[in-house]
């Protein structure tokens, strides 16, 4: 065994005294060389900024010079009093609800349909996964064409029936609906792939046994397949929620959060009200609130829903 390894490993250098000490030094050298780049980058660009967000959020500051105008918790008060922030929160909740009630069942149904072997099943899987690979910006632009009141696809379908086309994205009542459809279009394939991977890991004999025992299709799904998939379903719920909390790229090409702030998410609210106006304190407060939502959700969900995984 040793000989096979040393064949592909550089010849050991002749080393004198205590092997243990040398190994310890080697260990130390490796740690000292391999760890700092990751730790430095991570601390500098991930941990410090989120700490600084907490610090800046107590100031009214436009980003120039150093923050001196201490305002305590006022920024948080302004955020919560802002009508647009309330709407953004509502929209994030809406996205989560649609993800859970429409996107996940759709993904599951497709996964079940496509996990059987038939001609074209693999091609369809790839086709349904494709939207997930496309950039959010490209997706958003494609759908802003689809929804366009003059040239768009929807408009021409409407005209076929002789009706005047609605400008879905231009009305506060429908802008969010239009975005939700795009979200389903873009992300269902990802969840479908998760389910397909999980279905392939399921022991087929369990399903066969239930079938022989006379289980109907629905019973098979309800009492065998879904329970077996439940770790994956919980994971996919987790990803839906986390993904919806950071949704931004898709909003910009479609509506930029408008009209009348009807389609902001928390992140696009942060961008429109914090970054665009260089209100560092205010934007940081939004960031801190989002951070708290993400962390609280991750911890409670892991504790309550994924403890047996």
């Amino acid at each position: 065994m040793t000989s096979t390894v040393s064949a592909s490993v550089p010849r050991p250098r002749a080393r004198g005294s205590s092997l243990g000490k040398l190994l310890a030094d080697d260990k130390l050298a490796t740690i000292a060389l391999f760890l700092p780049p990751a730790l430095l980058l991570y601390t500098l660009f991930v941990i410090l900024p989120i700490g600084e967000a907490g610090f800046y959020s107590a100031f009214s500051w436009n980003g120039f010079g150093s923050p001196t105008n201490w305002v305590g918790l006022d920024n948080y008060r302004y955020v919560f009093e802002n009508r647009a922030f309330g709407l953004a929160l509502r929209n994030n909740v809406l996205i989560i609800v649609v993800s859970l009630l429409i996107q996940l069942p759709l993904a599951l149904a497709l996964a079940i349909a496509l996990s059987e072997r038939f001609r074209g099943a693999v091609a369809l899987r790839m086709l349904f996964f494709l939207p997930y690979v496309l950039a959010e910006i490209a997706t958003g632009l494609i759908f802003s064409f689809v929804y366009d009141g003059n040239y768009g696809l929807l408009a021409s379908i409407w005209r076929l029936f002789g009706a005047e086309a609605p400008h879905l994205l231009a009305s506060p009542q429908t802008s969010m609906l239009a975005i939700l459809i795009v979200i389903v279009w873009k992300y269902f394939g990802f969840h479908m792939m998760l389910y397909i991977a999980a279905l392939q890991g399921i022991d087929r004999s369990l399903i066969e046994a239930a079938r022989i025992d006379g289980a109907s299709r629905f019973e098979l799904l309800r009492y065998v397949v879904i329970p077996l998939l439940s770790p994956t379903i919980r994971l996919s719920v987790f990803f839906s929620v986390v993904g919806s909390l950071q949704l931004f790229d898709l909003i910009m090409p479609l509506t930029r959060g408008g009209p009348a702030d009807s389609s902001n998410t928390i992140v696009s609210f942060l961008y429109n009200f914090g970054v665009m106006r260089m209100r560092v304190g205010f934007g940081s407060a939004v960031g801190v609130i989002l951070f708290c939502i993400c962390v609280t959700f991750a911890f409670t969900y892991k504790r309550w829903m994924m403890r047996d995984d």
Binding site: A135, I137, A197, S284
Partner: protein, 282 residues
Amino acid sequence: MTSPSRTRRRFDPAPLYKALFLTLVAAFVTVPLITTVLGGFKSLGELRTNPFGLPQSWEWENYWGILASKRYWMLLRNSLIIASLSTFLTLAVAAMAGFVFAHLKFFGSRMLGEYLTLGLLFPAATAILPLFIKVRDLGLLDTYFGVVLPQVAFSLAMSILLFRRFFKDLPPELLEAALIDGCSYIDYFRHMTLPLSRPILATVGTIAFVHSWNAYLVPLVMLNSDALYPWPLGIMVYQGEYSAEWNLILAFITLTILPTIVLFLLAQKHIVAGLTAGAVKG
């Protein structure tokens, strides 16, 4: 449900429903994509009257005009540079750290490991303003590295996790034997771990590349000059300039998502594995 034919072979409608269902979803996915590609070949007037069908006259100049422009190639070049740098740095930095966490126990290694996984819990958007100020104070605003370094930093947590698990699953006898033979950890990493780690390098590399190629928020905040814009920023500018000329915008969209689609067709296995890997086992 099918009472008349009960005595004979029952007609089972399920496959029919399934086919219908799959066709509907396939149409839902493909119609926007196909009309985008075809729309690029139409004149503006035809786009309005005939949005679905094949173009009556193929207007190649929409596409040629863009392909002949410096702008398109500059956007792709910028994206390629940024995504390649991000991918390379992520692989190098995360593989080294993952190696340490997989094989070396030291005082505080557990704590450091947990410190690094904190990054999984929140997106870059939460700290985008302080991140902007940090990059500005470092003098990296409006440079490739101002985009690359934050992207790498935010992909580290997941990448290190994936590397550590893969390295741990390699047969431990290899390391023991190499150490007994006097091989150093660093040599072992270079000559044994890396050559054995192609699958995980491909997986992590794919995630890093696709995320960076598609990224919008970080470049939007960090870059000011058009000359450095990656394509998602450039296409938004383009759309702003040609706001009503949808045929040109559609051609531009088609040409910018073309590299992604080609890459996807060539490397679908790696891409699917990569983009779902973090999820399935994370």
